[in-house]
């Protein structure tokens, strides 16, 4: 009896700690306390579960603990920050697989005595769990470049996917009414696994932030469904928190790209379009590091606009040196962060924080946009589509309506870029052709290094 009380009390405290944990995460000052709260809650919940009377053997649990730690810990400790999106996608896959497998075991353990309600939530758990498992593995593959990150689309794709999903759900509904037909269960599981793969195939690399958030939401919901099936309120609470978090992030990501959910899932956006016409050679003004450094030297305020290209070139630490040297000269330096900069929500902030750039210098889009007209220099490093003014006025542009950083309003615009290749959306950026834009051609890391060298040199001379 005491064990049961302990379990119940530990679950209630754990649920409260989980909510507090997310509450404390709202600000960088208290965020680490949030992690502690979550850890304590988790430890309590595990302890509360281990003392339950239903557990007759600890052997396999221990094996699972050891193996799980052996997999999870090295990834968390050594994974480079550029690969956090991949780790996140993998962890969604793990979480969803766990939910799917628990649902499967529950079904086969109680096949004959399942109530309609339990069978319904078990089906939901298994469908969501398995589709999120393979979907997240596909997202991982695309992020890691194991699978081509361009969207693979074919005619009738949506019809095939939707009918496949409909068959899976239909079979599940039949199973709910006839839980004893256990030969149908593998059909539901298999179709869900297949659907997860097919769902992600047509989605392009540029949409990964949205997809990862959406899969996060599904993983949470499958955990909540497990809570319904096992009649465990703690699971329901944790799953609901995870589900709503993923949902909010997906909405933010969609809004940042001016797209709808259905457009992300079924649109096949991000494929390289062959834009006919309008390919006339417009001239750009390119400049050397010396010229650019001269302008930066005279500037009193600089806004740096980092994109994922900066991370690909591993230029964060050079950028930090540039930040240091400009700040030391009394220049006001800020970083303008677009919500979809990077490959998952908030990714760019982590990359810059890792390079030791103070977080109060990282400014969100809404806050920084009114400041561009007062900025002497806007320095774009590895960002493209999020700076394209066509999104504001060109109704024919595929990115029309997407909120952008108003880089073109700064007095001087500098763009560090390897060449004139278009961005993810495959469209030309008219920012590059304005009179005040200087194109700085070269590798981001090398070029920023040269800027730093120029600025240091002149600093010594003065």
């Amino acid at each position: 009896m005491i064990a049961t009380y302990f379990t119940q009390v530990s679950y209630i405290i754990a649920a409260a700690l989980f909510i507090l944990s997310l509450k404390w995460l709202s600000h960088p000052g208290t965020a680490r306390r949030g992690v502690r709260a979550g850890e304590i809650g988790m430890a309590l919940a595990i302890a509360g579960t281990l003392v339950q009377s239903g557990i007759v053997s600890y052997q396999w649990i221990l094996v699972g603990f050891v193996l799980g730690t052996a997999i999870g810990l090295p990834m968390a400790v050594w994974m480079p920050m550029t690969h956090v999106p991949q780790r996140t996608a993998l962890s969604h896959a793990f979480g969803a697989l766990a939910a799917g497998l628990v649902g499967t075991s529950e079904y086969y353990l109680h096949t004959t005595d399942l109530s309609t309600f339990t069978m319904a939530v078990l089906s939901l758990e298994v469908i969501l769990g398995f589709l999120t498992f393979t979907g997240s593995l596909m997202a991982f593959g695309k992020l890691q470049d194991l699978v081509p990150s361009r969207p693979l689309v074919y005619k009738g794709q949506n019809a095939v996917n939707l009918s496949l999903f409909a068959v899976a759900v239909g079979t599940a509904v039949y199973l709910v009414m006839h839980p004893g037909r256990s030969e149908l269960f593998p059909v539901v599981a298999g179709l869900s696994l297949l659907f997860g793969v097919l769902l992600i195939i047509p989605i392009g690399g540029a949409d990964m932030p949205t997809v990862v958030s959406l899969l996060n939401s599904y993983a949470g919901l499958s955990a909540a469904a497990m809570g319904f099936a096992l009649d465990n309120n703690l699971l329901i609470v944790a799953g609901a928190l995870d589900g709503s978090s993923g949902f909010i992030l997906s909405v933010i990501m969609c809004r940042a790209m001016n797209r709808s959910f259905s457009n992300v899932l079924f649109g096949g956006f991000g494929q390289v379009r062959v834009v006919a016409g309008e390919m006339e050679k417009r001239s750009v003004r390119s400049a050397t590091a010396e010229e650019a450094a001269g302008i930066l030297e005279a500037a009193s305020s600089v806004v740096i606009v980092p994109g994922y290209g900066m991370a690909v070139a591993q230029a964060q630490h050079k950028v930090r040196e540039l930040y240091d040297i400009l700040t030391r000269r009394g220049t006001e330096v800020k970083f303008a962060i677009h919500p979809v900069a990077g490959r998952m929500p908030g990714h760019m902030n982590v990359l810059l924080a890792e390079a030791d750039i103070p977080y109060d210098r990282l400014v969100e889009m809404e806050e920084v946009n009114p400041e561009f007209p007062q900025a002497d220099v806007a320095l774009v490093i590895g960002a493209n589509d999020v700076t394209n003014p066509a999104a504001r006025h060109d109704k024919t542009s595929p990115i029309f309506g997407m909120p952008i950083l108003d880089v073109d309003k700064a007095r001087t615009v500098m763009v560090i870029k390897r060449g004139m290749s278009p961005g993810f959306a495959g469209i030309d950026n008219e920012l590059y052709y304005t009179d005040k834009t200087m194109m700085l051609f070269g590798d981001a890391k090398v070029f920023v290094g040269e800027l730093v060298k120029e600025l240091t040199g002149s600093h010594v001379r003065v």
């Binding site: 709202s26 992690v35 979550g38 999870g72 319904f228 329901i236 609901a240």
Partner: protein
């Protein structure tokens, strides 16, 4: 079990609302740590996995339960550790600058 369904739905709806309110306040600065933290928290499915793996009711359920424990445990450990690792990097400007 209608009473159980009702109370479970009750908990789900309330938790979803609490989740929306709390998570809306999280600064976009911390959205990546947010995702890894919620991920660690939802790895509480470990609780369900432990119950299946430890009950030893059938070979199938023990095997599936053990795999589920491995997956959830990887998320629990990995999720909390990487969240903390990321948050450690977020620093304010040193006062002398």
């Amino acid at each position: 079990m209608p009473s159980s369904l009702e109370s479970a739905l009750f908990v789900f709806v309330l938790a979803t609302f609490v989740g929306f309110e709390v998570i809306r306040r999280v600064s976009p600065l911390l959205h990546t740590p947010l995702m890894s933290l919620t991920n660690a928290i939802s790895a509480i499915s470990l609780v369900g996995s432990i119950a299946i793996a430890g009950a030893e009711k059938s070979h199938l359920s023990t095997v599936l339960g053990t795999i589920a424990v491995v997956c959830s445990m990887a998320n629990v450990i990995g999720g909390f550790v990487i969240t903390d690792r990321m948050l450690k990097m977020f620093k304010k400007r040193e006062p002398d600058r």
